[in-house]
């Protein structure tokens, strides 16, 4: 199963309205992207980390495991900034502005990723998807996303089992075997996905399925205090950044 999904469903902030968590997490992300990385991203990163590990109660190990992924991309993506090509110093040369720019990029990506992780670790898809209709997403698209979410987990489960079964029959020992296994996996996933859909259709018919998946949206009040706090935090970070940038640095 997917660790972020599991964590989101048992999050301490599960009962909070997704709007509150979106305002906080995505607000922090946007702030990180828009402010100058130094000192803006550092401040956002520190604040986000504090919220994540503090009130939101995300386990540090789980957070690190999830955070490694964007970090890996960012490090790879920052390497080209260290070099200049085709300049006066030859076809490939060290770029003097490269290291600080790479660091700035790392800071911005890290802070922005943490913001999204704050939202992802506290807001399960089940709370988010049905509410997207109110945000203007066409209901048919939301229905498809709901089915995608459900069937994806069934498929992931099946694929895990099939991989094990293939390994037991030495499906990963040689390159030819690995390709045979992989092709079997892809084809089985396809067949299974549509088998699942047709079985769901039979299963839902008795409850009046007509192409629309109407479900009860969980009740949660939007806390004005929380939103106020978010606004204060974001404003504080912006002001502090601008002040520090102008006067201290």
């Amino acid at each position: 199963m997917l660790p972020i999904d599991v964590a989101a469903h048992s999050s301490r902030w599960r009962r909070r309205h997704p709007c509150e968590k979106a305002a906080l997490g995505l607000g922090l992300t946007v702030t990180a992207v828009c402010l100058p990385p130094w000192p803006g991203a550092v401040l956002v990163g520190a604040a986000t980390l504090a919220v994540l590990l503090g009130p939101a109660g995300v386990a540090p190990r789980r957070l690190w495991r999830a955070f490694r992924i964007p970090l890996g991309f960012c490090v790879t993506g920052a390497v080209p900034l260290l070099f200049a090509v085709g300049g006066p110093d030859g076809p490939v040369a060290f770029a003097p502005d490269g290291p600080p720019e790479a660091v700035r990029l790392l800071l911005r990506t890290s802070a922005a990723s943490l913001g999204v992780l704050l939202f992802a670790f506290t807001t399960p898809m089940s709370d988010l998807l049905p509410r997207l209709v109110k945000a203007g997403v066409p209901p048919a698209v939301v229905d498809v996303a709901l089915v995608m979410y459900r069937i994806s987990f069934l498929l992931l489960d099946a694929i895990g089992n099939i991989r094990q079964a293939q390994a037991a029959r030495l499906g990963h020992t040689t390159r030819a075997a690995a390709w045979r296994s992989l092709a079997g996996l892809g084809a089985t996933a396809f067949v299974r996905a549509f088998d699942r859909a047709s079985r769901l259709q039979t299963g839902l018919a008795g409850r009046g399925y007509d192409g629309t998946l109407r479900v009860l949206v969980p009740r949660a009040p939007v806390s004005r205090t929380f939103l106020g706090g978010v606004a204060a935090l974001l404003t504080g970070i912006v002001v502090l950044t601008l002040v520090l940038e102008r006067f201290a640095l």
């Binding site: 972020i4 946007v30 090509v85 770029a95 992802a120 048919a140 709901l146 994806s152 992931l156 769901l200």
Partner: protein, 207 residues
């Protein structure tokens, strides 16, 4: 290949969002029409999307020996056509950002443009073109998937180059840098994805 959260400057992030929007809106309209005309298609489209999502989570052995993930957009476009893939791809990217920490929300527009718009259209275009010239099905499938994967990576390189032009040679130089670095992994991967797609299609056409 996903651009991570926060990697693009705000203006670029917004611009790519604007560039993707018409395709996604068009796809969403096509999808809504489809569901209205045929109510059962909600479940079938959900299944298609789930398949795309799960396919992109598979690890495939690259020719160089390392492992990577296929984009799945070529197979998806051939099976489900590009407009629908724009929507399914966008939902997939949203799931990847929120469930796997792959990609991001501010970079969603850029990723949608490369993986859910250009990739499927280019792959599908090549596939149709080859089919029109009576190229065997599996060859067309291979080049369709290969092109979808490769064009996705090309667009991503352009997106990165535009965001971080080379101090000496500007955008073209940066393109060479990003393209060069990712070519090492992405070219073999595109071949792998083409092969995988052919194998999957063969199994599917047999059963």
């Amino acid at each position: 290949m996903h651009i991570a959260e926060g990697y693009l400057p705000p203006l670029h992030a917004a611009a790519w969002g604007v560039a993707s929007a018409p395709f996604v809106v068009h796809g969403a309209r096509a999808l809504t029409r489809e569901v209205r005309a045929n109510p059962d298609s909600t479940l079938l489209l959900g299944a298609s999307g789930a398949f795309t999502f799960v396919l992109s989570a598979l690890k495939i052995p690259s020719v160089t020996g390392s492992c990577s993930h296929p984009t799945g957009t070529g197979l998806g476009a051939i099976l489900f056509r590009p407009p629908v893939m724009a929507v399914l791809g966008t939902i997939t990217l949203l799931f990847q950002a929120l469930l796997l920490a792959h990609g991001g929300l501010t970079t969603l527009g850029a990723n949608v443009f490369s993986m859910a718009v250009v990739g499927p259209w280019a792959g599908y275009g090549v596939y149709r073109l080859l089919r029109r010239f009576d190229v065997p099905l599996m060859v067309a499938v291979f080049f369709g998937a290969f092109t979808a994967d490769l064009s996705t990576y090309c667009v991503t390189s352009v997106q990165l180059a535009l965001a971080f032009p080379d101090p000496g040679s500007g955008v073209p130089g940066a393109l060479a840098k990003f393209g060069g670095i990712f070519a090492v992994t992405q070219l073999p991967l595109a071949v792998s994805e083409g092969l995988l797609t052919v194998l999957v299609m063969r199994l599917l056409s047999r059963s």
